[in-house]
């Protein structure tokens, strides 16, 4: 309860600050939309030459892309920890975090949220509806609930992986370039995993399970029964990865050495 109220306190403060810089907000939303448009055009261009990719049609791929945008938007709104090492370890901001009576990871999440990224949810859902109508998909009463479950699972997976990467900073304070690389790998989850070779497929399913953020859960809505098992693993994987990240984070905080003055 306390955490929920603190979350809303920070969120309202965040909105207040953002609204005072109106032009920034508009520019950011605009560049966000542009970025997503470019991605969509890329998919359209690829399918300009072929209509089928290993048995997946163009509309299906667009649908997967649309789905992927939703958990990704939630992840980018709340888990801006890609610069954790710089901002909190090197600059010593972690000291401040640790003197406050709220869990350190939660504080960082609410301090660094970027709510305008949630706009991606709208884009994602719009794309899904467009692709879905092209495919003639029917909407059942339980679909929204399953969708919610899948989205939460997907964002947990993303969050889990990136929290683990951030927690590495507690052990080694040297800079690494893993973060941007991981953003790239994350994009592979947007495409059907059976187009990749087996090793990559295994990695994307069990080690860096980005496939659970895009293709597996979408398979449920696309009615591809052969993937249902994986689809329903999505929330489970999400919880497992978030738990791993949580324990790794707590272990890391114990190792925190602080920055010198």
């Amino acid at each position: 309860m306390f955490y929920i109220s603190i979350f809303f306190q920070y969120a309202s403060q965040y909105l207040k600050t953002r609204l005072t810089y109106r032009s920034d907000l508009v520019v950011e939303l605009f560049s966000d939309i542009l970025f997503q448009a470019v991605n969509l055009i890329f998919i359209l261009v690829v399918f300009g030459h072929t209509n089928l990719l290993n048995g997946w049609s163009r509309e299906e791929i667009i649908f997967i892309y649309g789905f992927f945008l939703v958990p990704y938007a939630i992840f980018s709104a709340f888990f801006n920890i890609w610069d954790f090492n710089d901002r909190y370890i090197v600059k010593g901001e972690m000291d401040r975090i640790l003197t406050r009576p709220v869990h350190s990871l939660f504080q960082i999440i609410i301090e660094r949220m970027e709510l305008e990224s949630l706009f991606g949810v709208v884009t994602g859902v719009a794309i899904m509806f467009y692709a879905g109508s092209q495919l003639g998909l029917e909407l059942s009463w339980y679909d929204p609930f399953v969708f919610l479950l899948m989205v939460i699972g997907g964002s947990f997976i993303y969050a889990g992986i990136f929290i683990c990467l951030a927690a590495i900073s507690f052990w080694s304070d040297s800079k690494t370039d893993i973060m941007p690389m991981m953003y790239n790998i994350g994009n592979y989850g947007r495409y059907p995993v059976d187009i990749y070779n087996n090793v990559i497929r295994f990695v994307l399913t069990w080690i860096l399970p980005f496939a659970f953020v895009g293709v597996y859960p979408s398979a449920f809505f696309l009615g591809r029964t052969e993937w249902y098992g994986y689809a329903f693993l999505t929330p489970v994987m999400g919880i497992i990865f978030l738990l791993i990240a949580y324990f790794m984070w707590n272990a890391g905080v114990k190792r925190y050495r602080g920055a010198g003055n």
């Binding site: 603190i6 003197t99 602080g258």
Partner: protein, 336 residues
């Protein structure tokens, strides 16, 4: 009851020392040389409620590391810490509700938002009720004279203004124990005095225990009855400030400014019958004599020196605390 109970507290840092040259860098890839650095070395510390303790030492003596262990930021390598009856590391979130922390070199406030918004968020974070906040903070705000600053964002404040706001922010939940890590660093005399007066006031009123580190010994003189002196991770003195002054040197310092440069040997020879210690100042014609013994000794020494050398200025001082501390660090001993 002791507010702070520290027993055999130790913190070691493993640091990697790199070899020199390219060949050395290659060897570092495979086998690394680690040095274990003991920043805090088995210290014991007990602080009672309502005490104001000055925690002093040179840069790198381990002050900040100790404070960070006491506030639950760093995990100790060994030893036990009990503060306000809790272990700062095991129950961090519960524990930090009972302390206030100010780091002079780091801001607790949100950079972009108005000071009062920061206060409001902290009030929620510390679960302070409206009544408590209003009755307690009204006074704090008045005493620190920050009312006109409340609607300004922190980034627009001067350092002195910001520090006063930081202090207020650390007191929102009216903690019984306050840690201040160099709270007066870089501030002008007026702000320093305001802050000192304020700390005295809350100590008197709420029996707030205060542990502060500082490089400005005037802070310690103004505030603390008790000092803890740290050197290379060990406590080398723990006791009353006057005791330190008394034990270390009785006597006076005489500062001579001669017309011409003077040799140390000639001064020593001239004053060999006195218990005196000569130290050269910044220029070859500036000398300081620390005289132990009666006041008459001082005047006899002065007449002796002035009979042989022409002087342009002379000053007599009590030995300053700063001088005492410097002596202790240079000689590494505490008498008594």
């Amino acid at each position: 009851m002791n507010v702070i109970e520290v027993h055999k507290l130790r913190k070691e840092f493993k640091s990697f020392s790199s070899r020199s040259g390219l060949a050395g860098a290659f060897r570092d890839l495979f086998t690394r040389n680690y040095k274990i650095l003991r920043a805090v070395d088995d210290i014991d510390l007990h602080v009672k409620q309502g005490e104001m303790v000055g925690y002093i030492g040179e840069n790198g003596a381990g002050k900040s590391t100790t404070i960070k262990m006491l506030t639950g930021i760093l995990t100790p390598t060994a030893g036990t810490v009990r503060i306000n009856g809790m272990d700062p590391h095991k129950e961090r979130e519960k524990f930090v509700r009972t302390i206030g922390v100010v780091f002079g070199q780091r801001s607790q406030l949100w950079w972009d938002i108005a000071v009062q918004e920061s206060f409001r968020l902290l009030k929620k974070v510390y679960k302070v009720s409206d009544e408590d906040y209003n009755s307690h903070m009204k006074e704090v705000i008045e005493t620190l004279e920050i009312q006109p600053l409340l609607d300004k964002p922190v980034r627009k404040l001067s350092l002195g203004q910001r520090m006063r706001c930081e202090l207020a922010a650390a007191l929102i939940h009216n903690p019984p124990l306050l840690f201040l890590d160099e709270p007066t660093i870089g501030l002008d005399v007026l702000v320093k005095m305001k802050i000192r007066a304020f700390l005295k006031e809350i100590n008197r009123k709420y029996k707030t225990t205060i542990l502060l580190t500082t490089h400005d010994l005037a802070d310690i003189e103004a505030l603390c009855d008790r000092v803890v002196l740290l050197d290379k991770g060990k406590i080398i003195y723990d006791g009353r400030l006057e005791q330190l002054q008394k034990n270390w040197v009785e006597g006076k310092q005489v500062h001579f400014e001669f017309m011409h440069p003077v040799q140390e040997s000639s001064l020593r020879e001239l004053t060999s019958q006195f218990e005196v210690n000569w130290r050269q100042g910044e220029r070859p014609n500036l000398w300081t004599a620390t005289v132990e013994g009666e006041d008459e000794e001082v005047s006899r020494l002065m007449s002796e020196v002035m009979s042989l050398h022409t002087i342009s200025d002379v000053k007599i001082n009590q030995v300053s605390t700063e001088e005492i501390i410097r002596n202790i660090y240079e000689e590494g001993i505490v008498n008594g």
